[in-house]
């Protein structure tokens, strides 16, 4: 049975204001088009304001000053954030911890925190530390010497290789690989001599890693993903890279070895970044762009090879008209 809340309760929770019937009760969220009278919906983009007139929702989350078309409204500064917070409130219930289930396989000298769940089919090596309230899903493999902080979730069949360090509140989606060997070979006159990759990967707190993404361990020291950065599915981060705080690395991006990405950087889908360069803080790179050299901070770029975003738009317009 879903919990129900009054609009007054929700507005208090969000720091917002009800316009309309404060006592109206709702039990969840739904999109504008699909919401019934027991659901809250939200208007994130003013472009769709006219849809508010037609929604069957019990209430609409919107920014102050929008037309409410006679609907119950909870006014909040950031409707999209409010929507996310209500989703968490209504739908994210902590699972009761199950401990170490019998079909899991733990090595020697494994230190487990309180209230953890280690699912069947998990294999954990020797000398591993896992913090409080972590959940490790079936088939995940944690090699020896790994440290995982508190409240971290490792999904099914993810792999964390030896000695890597994972922070608090991280989420690792299914199939992600943390700490695979960096791609380093020295030509020896006949073929390729493998360079041992003896470094590790460090994920700081609140980092999230997408499904089947791969993050290679450093040759000597650390491949580092800083606090709060989110990485989507099928991304490749090569050895010795450093990604700053609160970054947004979209799907199928590839970053070559030893590149340093600043804080609050967004790399859109399928972007490629060469090795040994630096991208400044607050940079945004458009989808499918190729980054062949360092980029100054606080700017947007697009194209292959990359240009400042506005110049690229001009180049593309000219190119299309050439014939």
């Amino acid at each position: 049975m879903p919990q129900t809340k009054t609009l007054k309760e929700l507005a208090d929770y969000l720091g917002g204001v009800v316009k309309g019937d404060e006592t109206c009760r709702v039990n969840g969220l739904a999109p504008l088009e699909a919401a019934g009278p027991d659901k809250v919906t939200f208007l994130a983009n003013p472009r769709y304001a006219a849809k508010v007139a037609e929604t069957g929702a019990g209430a609409v989350l919107m920014a102050p000053g929008c037309d409410n078309y006679g609907r119950n409204v909870i006014e909040v500064a950031n409707p999209y954030l409010a929507f996310a917070k209500l989703l968490t409130l209504f739908y994210v219930q902590p699972q009761p911890p199950l401990g170490v289930l019998p079909e899991a396989c733990l090595g020697n000298n494994v230190s487990l925190g309180n209230d953890i769940t280690i699912h069947p089919g998990v294999v954990i090596g020797d000398n591993v530390t896992i913090g409080d309230r972590c959940v490790v899903h079936p088939g995940a493999v944690v090699y020896s010497g790994v440290t995982i902080g508190d409240d971290t979730v490792v999904h099914a069949n993810a792999v964390i290789r030896e000695r890597c360090r994972i922070g608090n509140r991280c989420v690792i989606q299914p199939g992600a690989v943390i700490g695979s060997d960096g791609f380093g070979y020295a030509p020896d006159g006949r073929g390729w001599y493998r360079i041992p990759q003896i470094g590790i990967v460090v994920l700081e707190d609140d980092v999230e890693i997408g499904a089947n993404t791969t993050i290679d361990r450093a040759a000597l020291e650390v491949t580092l993903i800083r606090r709060g950065t989110k990485i989507d599915n099928l991304v490749q981060i090569a050895h010795n890279c450093q990604i700053g705080e609160d970054g947004m690395i979209c799907s199928q991006v590839g970053i070559s070895g030893s590149s340093k990405i600043g804080n609050h950087v967004t790399l859109a889908g399928q972007v490629g970044v060469v090795g040994h360069i630096t991208i400044g803080d607050n940079v945004m790179v458009g989808a499918k762009s190729g980054v062949p050299n360092s980029l100054e901070a606080n700017a947007g770029y697009s194209g292959y090879p990359i240009q400042p975003h506005k110049e690229w738009l001009k180049s593309m317009a000219v190119l299309a008209k050439l014939p």
Copy 2:
């Protein structure tokens, strides 16, 4: 011991006609260059017709009216399809069902159909339904609440997350991830607030998913792959996408959130599609193209940014001549 068939038997099976020795016996298929007298080969592309003169094959599948160079021939309207059907006839034997092998791990209230095989190392959560004649290979993980239809094969180490629904006759290659969390975060003034992804993924009947491909669950409702669509390896389908029927999504394609793809659409390798757009029915998009906006039906497109295919060819020709 392989079974043998006469050309007459094969022609009857295929709805074709033998030209030559109907009683000739063959036991399998091989390429034009490698086939011996006990093998059937095929000519799909008339460009290679001259190779028929040199093949050692016992018979050649070809379209009516081609020169047979004195060989035994089975004439069929679609030699490539006939080849595929004979491959299935000669080489695809159903494995006898093995039931639930002892090293598999099943949750509570799991409903299994008849004649299934659940291999060692499989982990299945609570309240899962799996239909008749399904095979789940080692290491595959099926989270709680998942439904799988009849005759579906889930290969090793694939992951199907909670509550997703898989149709009949689907094939999921190794390492594919169905139902990972969509990449959704709301800026909260300091960093990124995770938006719970409470929707699911639905694969309709006859959908096939490539190795290590990832399909994210919807934020609220459904990420939907319609009947008959085939998806290659390492493809990313983001949350809330809808892919139409009988599509062909080639390797390393990425489709951003909430985009809608029509029926019979082909996206060639490494294509990228932005979010919140619509691609019409029967569209073909060339390899490595970037799709920044909606595309009208029944046309071909290429480039980055995309153009109608013929205009793109002109632009590229001009560009190459500029220097």
Copy 3:
């Protein structure tokens, strides 16, 4: 306790010459900036020669004739290769073999070499042969009929499908999939008819495969990766491809079906190659390029569509100036 070596011992091991204190003892390696007096560092790129003056390292590996700034030096013809060899000497200790651990699951008629380690959670099918000194990490799945040579390492959750053949001294990183079904369908007038993929994948000796990379089995015969070729993470090799010896295939490259790549070819990150073409020996293709047709040997290419590398640089320069 790390082992220590004198510079004389290291120079003898490398075939180099000490300039400075031959009796100086070191116990490992570190980057130029971070090395202390008990570490060896290396100067691979003469551009950074001035950093030698500031390093705290006990000794520097460098090419003959460089300024040593008064430091102990081991002169070697190839400092980068020497660095790799010393990393192996100091840091790569063979793990003692553990045999078949009890939580592994082996099929019938499995032949295991000497001094192997089969970790918990591994599932091996029937009629599999694994050579001496192999290590198979947790969760890896080896289907029936597979052959693996000596000294090969299969990392966690990698999958090797039925009948594929893996050579000696191969390394397969976590999550890689060898032998998934090729993406082959014949149109049957309504939808797509699956073409059974009855061939296999062969990896020759000294091949290395990156994390979550996928290599599809051939339709009829063999997808072949020749001796010494190294493949990075998230690469797609389609059915029936042949890759020559000592190649370097970087991350997120995609190669479509039946293409033949020569020896000593480098494909940089995110390159796409269409099907049914041939790339000659010693070709280098720049990052993100699209290869739509065959390429002659001994040349460099870049762009989408591809041009000889120098012409592409000119085209891009002109394009940027057009507006």
